[in-house]
Amino acid sequence: MSARGRLRDAVVLILMTLYAGPFFWQVVTSFKPESELLVLPPLLPSSPTLAHYVAVFEKSLVPRALVNSLGVAGLTVLLAVALGLFAAYALARLPIPGRGALLLLIAASTAFPQITTVSPLYLLLRTLGLRDTWAGLVLANTSFALPLIIWLLAGFIREIPEELEEAAFLDGASRVQVLRWVILPLTAPALASAALLTFLMSWNEFLFAYTLSASEASRTVPVAIALFPGVFEVPWGDIAAASILASLPPIAIVVGLQRYLIRGVLAGALRE
């Protein structure tokens, strides 16, 4: 590789690091002692401290909120994938009456503004006694997760050659068996992409969680951070530490499972 090419690559990497700068600045802030928070310069802490993380774990509602977020996002993924896989297979392969209208409805509901449905959803879930519960949030998140999953998976299933299924039918397999032993293994990577996207969206979701939660029983991390208590002064260091904790799952996905994430994003955006 030419020296110029290497220099170019280095410059791009530096620029991208600077682009992520706001996040790294929050990392630095989370390790700054209280006394150095409101003074600039120096930029870096003289002696990095874990005090803010300790405070977040011992005094705030964030640990409980992390558990809520993990539970709600995980259950949303399970529910949406379980229902979505069957629906996607049927829409891709079986002669369903009104299929075109159904696909249109599913595509349109991925664009429904949350602000439009939040008030009736609130009234509905309150009537069902599901306000401030995991179940209520899982159902609310499923309203945007399910259309996305069906849309993504139907596209992938349509690409699987039908001959593979026919061979199984010849061997006497039933629909459900074909779905389990032929389609599921072949869609596993797509399923992983769809599940990752759903998890990320649920983990980050704020409007529904903020509206439907009322206590630590169901408050998710974004809600806990938005409501971070500060009576006389804003606890910037603690907020920074809580922000970093809330960012760990998304970072793990972006860094560790990047290929699946990108595949899911591209399929969701570019598939007709």
Binding site: D9, A87, I115, L124, L146, P250
Partner: protein
């Protein structure tokens, strides 16, 4: 009759293709299986999206203030009120400015970053990770990052500007640009990713041929790269415009709509009417209008995309 069903009929008469060859008389059972498979998802969607969207329409025709036990049918009165409501028109204007500037910034920056990444030889994965980080963070976290960056005395932004003490989120002239910047930071990586993927699919021979013909770098960009990116840019424009009109978290946490309503979008106005002043009817009416705008935009974009595809 659906297109799928007519295909099924054809494969019955010409039993050489399609899975029906093995069960020629089983169309009705197949439809039954199909419905059985779709039913759970359908019930869920009907309860969680269709029913609420119909209900919100009905709500928007009511005057409903639960705290006072008020609930009466008022027809289109809520919409008539909004038509002459200065706060509504201000929110509409803020939404428009926010959407236009934020999406414009994202598209321009996104293309530039995509070009840089596509030319990258080594460290692409790291570069992509750094880029996508901004997109993957919870928007509430992003709002907190920028609130801290914009801090009047201890903020990094003022420090880098040479020790200024600008009150970014408290100044009516700076708050909206501040919110827009935070949103553009968060969503530009999405545009960049779409363009980057498209750029990778361009065969290098095209560029080589053009270079042989003596095309300069600018000509390569305007004559080859941009036209190829046109389709994907339209898609990015569609997704980003819809998201920008629906945006809520970032301004809710960063400014709460202030100062003096300069960052209050339609979604924020709707939320505060619904859950802070508890006027469900009026709030629902604003929600319905946002819904109308989003659906009209989606329909318009999809038409444009279809026209785009026809000659190709």
């Amino acid at each position: 009759m659906t297109p799928r069903a007519s295909t099924a009929e054809r494969s019955q008469s010409a039993p050489t293709s399609g899975h029906l060859r093995f069960k020629p008389a089983s169309r009705t059972p197949l439809q039954f299986t199909g419905l059985l498979f779709v039913a759970p998802a359908l019930v869920m969607l009907a309860a969680l999206t269709v029913y609420p969207s119909v209900w919100v329409l009905w709500l928007s025709l009511l005057r409903r203030v639960p705290v006072f036990g008020v609930e009466s049918f008022v027809g289109l009165a809520n919409y008539a009120f909004l038509a002459t409501d200065a706060r509504f028109w201000n929110a509409a204007r803020v939404t428009l400015v926010f959407t236009l500037v934020s999406v414009g910034l994202e598209l321009v920056l996104g293309v530039l970053v995509a070009l840089a990444l596509a030319a990258q030889r080594r460290g692409r994965r790291v570069a992509l990770s750094l880029l996508l980080l901004a997109w993957a963070l919870p928007s509430v976290v992003t709002a907190k990052l920028f609130e801290w960056l914009y801090h009047p005395t201890a903020g990094l932004v003022n420090f880098l500007l040479g020790g200024r003490s600008l009150n970014w989120l408290g100044d009516p002239g700076l708050a909206l640009p501040g919110v827009i910047l935070a949103d553009a930071w968060r969503t530009m990586p999405f545009v960049a990713l779409l363009c980057y993927a498209r750029l990778l699919a361009i065969p290098p021979e095209i560029y080589e041929a053009a270079q042989v013909d003596g095309a300069g770098r600018l000509a390569l960009f305007t004559r080859i790269t941009l036209p190829i990116l046109r389709g994907v840019l339209l898609i990015a424009l569609l997704f980003r415009t819809l998201d920008a009109v629906r945006a809520f978290d970032i301004m809710f946490v960063l400014t709460g709509g202030g100062p003096a309503g300069t960052t209050e979008t339609l979604t924020l106005y709707a939320y505060r009417t619904l859950f802070q002043t508890l006027q469900f009817g009026l709030g629902a009416a604003i929600g319905v209008l946002v819904f109308g705008v989003v659906m009209a935009l989606a329909w318009g974009f999809l038409r444009a995309l279809r026209v785009e595809e026809r000659p190709a």
